[in-house]
């Protein structure tokens, strides 16, 4: 394996240092400096972050490969600075058996760019009625530690209780997509003054908040962890704050789009801005940013949701929900949180790497950049403008181009370069390295 000496990078704690990689791990710079075959990377002006971990990614394979494959999604992740992704279960067929989750993990390994952790469905077929084979999925080589019906809500209280009990027994975590289906029938955008002006059925904030409120109480009663996907409202933040104060073991994530974008964008009826949960108000984005800054929300997770163009080039009511986000996540975080001073780089490392890894029980991220840890690393230029996303097969990107700050220059996964000088390393090189 190639050894690397990365010089002059700024570490998350603000100091400038050299970072060295050998045999897939961080080592003392002295061990590679001056040695034959060591590749030198000049990193002055770049921030060194531990490899980013996404707890919420839709890789669409198996079944929906026109939108994305595990390979293309991994490449998009690498370009975004990610070294681990959690592949959500709403594929076709649904990942509710070990056969699927094991296969997803294997395909991720073969692609080689990132660690792909399969997420198992909570209920069979995402139907919300019977629990899936959670134990089998956890025990297999896929090693599922995160279960979610994301895309759908586990709305039946008894089913949710049983899922939490099973999660407790297995030592895994259940992640809820909080959306009361009875309050959101045919809803396509946030419910409020704008939706009523536009004549579009709305998704009221209470449909999310009421489910979170129920779930945190159930989690407390059962005595196990709960994770809340894509929190989108100020009210949800309040519920989670209350729950944490009470000592409930709840964690929560926010997406980049909910940190930056608001419902006014839907005024043009452009399906690019249609997402579930919907874009909300400016007040909600402010509450979410503050919540991330003070730890009420634990992590940023992309909810990267690729869709083929025909699903977005149609009338708003017929369009699919979702936006791609792996490559713009870090730029959005820099723009909305780092530059205004709400988060330090050390906080960024926490919310985008160590904390999601901890929630997903993913090893190797608890001592980031430390000598001996697996070499998961991303080097980002915080002042260069982010390039338009180019890794995903889908182009449903809602962010303006050439505007947001932050360009990933290098990504290392287990010590192997997946992105070099801002360009994706070719698949054959990546897999060649992987087999060494």
């Amino acid at each position: 394996m190639t050894s690397y000496l990365i010089s002059g990078a700024e570490l998350p704690n603000g100091t400038r240092a050299d970072v060295a990689i050998r045999d897939g791990h961080f080592v003392d710079p002295g061990e590679v400096s001056g040695k034959k075959g060591t590749v030198l990377v000049g990193a002055s002006g770049l921030i060194a972050l531990p490899g980013l971990v996404d707890l919420h990614t839709h890789l669409r394979q198996p079944g929906l490969e026109q939108a994305e494959t595990i390979l293309s999604g991994s490449q998009s992740g690498a370009l975004g600075g990610f070294t681990a992704l959690h592949a959500m279960a709403n594929t076709d067929p649904v990942a509710d058996t070990a056969g699927i989750t094991d296969a997803v993990a294997r395909m991720g390994r073969e692609a080689g760019y990132v660690t792909v952790r399969p997420v198992g469905a909570i209920t069979k077929g995402l139907a919300g009625e019977e629990l899936s084979a959670m134990a089998a999925m956890a025990a297999g080589p896929g090693a599922v530690r995160l279960f979610s019906d994301d895309g759908k809500c586990v709305h039946d209280s008894l089913v949710m209780r049983r899922a939490l009990e099973q999660a407790k027994a297995l030592g895994v975590v259940v992640a809820q997509h909080a959306q009361d289906p009875r309050l959101t029938i045919d809803a396509h955008m946030n419910e409020g003054a704008l939706s009523s002006r536009l004549g579009v059925v709305g998704w009221p904030a209470v449909a999310e908040e009421s489910i979170i409120a129920r779930d945190v109480l159930l989690a407390e009663y059962v005595g196990t962890r709960l994770h809340v996907c894509h929190v989108s409202t100020a009210g949800s933040v309040d519920v989670i704050r209350w729950a944490k104060k009470r000592g409930i073991a709840v964690t929560a994530e926010v997406t980049p789009h909910h940190l930056l974008l608001t419902e006014d964008l839907v005024g043009s009826f452009d399906p690019l801005f249609k997402v579930n949960p919907p874009l909300r108000t400016a007040e909600d984005t402010r509450a979410l940013r503050a919540a991330l800054a003070d730890g009420i929300i634990d992590i940023v997770a992309t909810d990267h949701a690729p869709h083929p163009s025909e699903s977005k080039e149609c009338a708003f009511g017929e369009a699919a929900f979702g936006m791609v986000g792996l490559e713009m996540a870090l730029p959005v975080v820099i723009e909305t949180l780092v530059n205004p001073g709400l988060l330090t780089w050390s906080d960024v490392a926490r919310v985008l790497s160590s904390a999601p890894a901890a929630i997903g029980s993913l090893a190797g991220y608890d001592a980031p950049l430390a000598v001996g840890s697996p070499a998961h690393l991303t080097l980002v230029d915080p002042t260069a403008v982010a390039l338009a996303p180019r890794g995903s097969l889908s182009s449903n990107n809602p962010y303006p181009e050439n505007v947001l700050p932050g360009r990933v220059m290098f990504t290392f996964h287990h010590g192997r370069a997946t992105v070099s000088n801002g360009e994706l390393v070719a698949p054959d090189v990546v897999s060649a390295e992987a087999s060494r």
Partner: protein, 312 residues
């Protein structure tokens, strides 16, 4: 003006131009030869993803009076119901020579999506998109109000007129288009309906709203516009019981008799006689429902002319 998509986007001058032009076109209907050569060679396509005989025929009549050519594309049984996308349908129509596409679609914003997509170069007229807007309906309603309350309608605004719109507001594109157009023209609008049928956030609209139809009638509005109650929604018992609706929100003879002498009754049609409006009221001298239909053709002629007369 390249497209007519919504009344929310029309300013006073544009609205007046359309209404004044419609007045001129109205006069054509009374001539010996009620036809103009103005849009000869222009092709208008009715692209209807939802059934609507009345609106479709109205646009056809408007096009015929201007000597334009007409193509009608009904979705039922067409390639769209076999899965062809809006994009492909529109591009096929343009390739067949459509200059103006009149679109009615069940999804709010469909007309805007078509207009802004860049898929076609044609002008787009929104003939009703989901619950969002139906601009030509609001224009014909405004034209009717102008004619009734101004002896010389040309150039007139609706300043000071009070209009009550009653019924299923939340699902109504007619209500939305009217709220914004009538307010732009200076009228005062009151929305009346049960809580479940008034839009969330209606307090942000430039209107009054009330749950009480009798109150609204006793405030002596100049016009009462009754909206059709969609029976499909009455089936959803969680909204409101049919009996309660008729009792509280129907324009009965007794209510109509309490209106001021000169007040008029409007309805976009089709009517459910005996549900939202009593038969006798619909047939009374207060009712301008047929004027609305007549004005519909003139307003649609004005829309076609504004978008297409004056361009190659």
């Amino acid at each position: 003006m390249k497209h007519l998509l919504s009344t929310q986007e029309l300013d006073v001058d544009q609205a007046l131009t359309l209404l004044d032009t419609a007045e001129e076109f109205q006069a054509v209907a009374n001539r010996q030869v009620p036809k103009l050569p103005t849009l000869r060679g222009v092709t208008m396509v009715n692209l209807f993803f939802e059934d609507s005989t009345r609106t479709r025929l109205s646009f056809e009549a408007a096009a015929q009076r201007l000597s334009a050519d007409i193509m009608t594309f009904q979705v039922h049984g067409s390639s769209v119901s076999k899965g062809e996308s809006l994009k492909d349908t529109a591009q096929t129509l343009e390739a067949m020579g459509a200059d103006v596409i009149v679109i009615r679609h069940p999804s709010s914003g469909a007309a805007a999506t078509l207009a802004r997509s860049g898929w076609v170069d044609s002008s787009i007229i929104n003939a009703g998109d989901g619950a969002h807007e139906h601009p030509t309906q609001a224009l014909l309603d405004a034209m009717t109000l102008r004619q009734r309350f101004h002896s010389e309608p040309r150039g007139a605004l609706l300043t000071g007129l009070s209009v009550a719109i009653v019924g299923d507001i939340v699902h109504s594109r007619v209500a939305r288009s009217n709220v914004f157009l009538l307010t732009t023209l200076g009228a005062k609008v009151t929305l009346v309906g049960p809580p479940a049928l008034l839009p969330q956030g209606v307090d942000d609209w430039p209107v009054h709203s009330t749950f009480d139809l009798d109150d609204a009638i006793d405030s002596a509005p100049d016009a009462v516009m009754m909206l059709r109650v969609q029976r499909e929604r009455m089936g959803d018992g969680s909204l409101i019981s049919h009996k309660d609706y008729v009792r509280n929100y129907s324009l009965t003879r007794a209510r109509a008799d309490r209106l001021p002498q000169d007040s008029i009754v409007m309805h976009p049609g089709p009517m459910n006689r005996g549900v939202e409006i009593a038969s006798q009221v619909a047939d009374s001298s207060r009712s301008v429902i047929l004027d609305q239909v007549r004005n519909g053709v003139s307003v649609r002629m004005a829309a076609l002319y504004e978008l297409r007369g004056g361009q190659a």
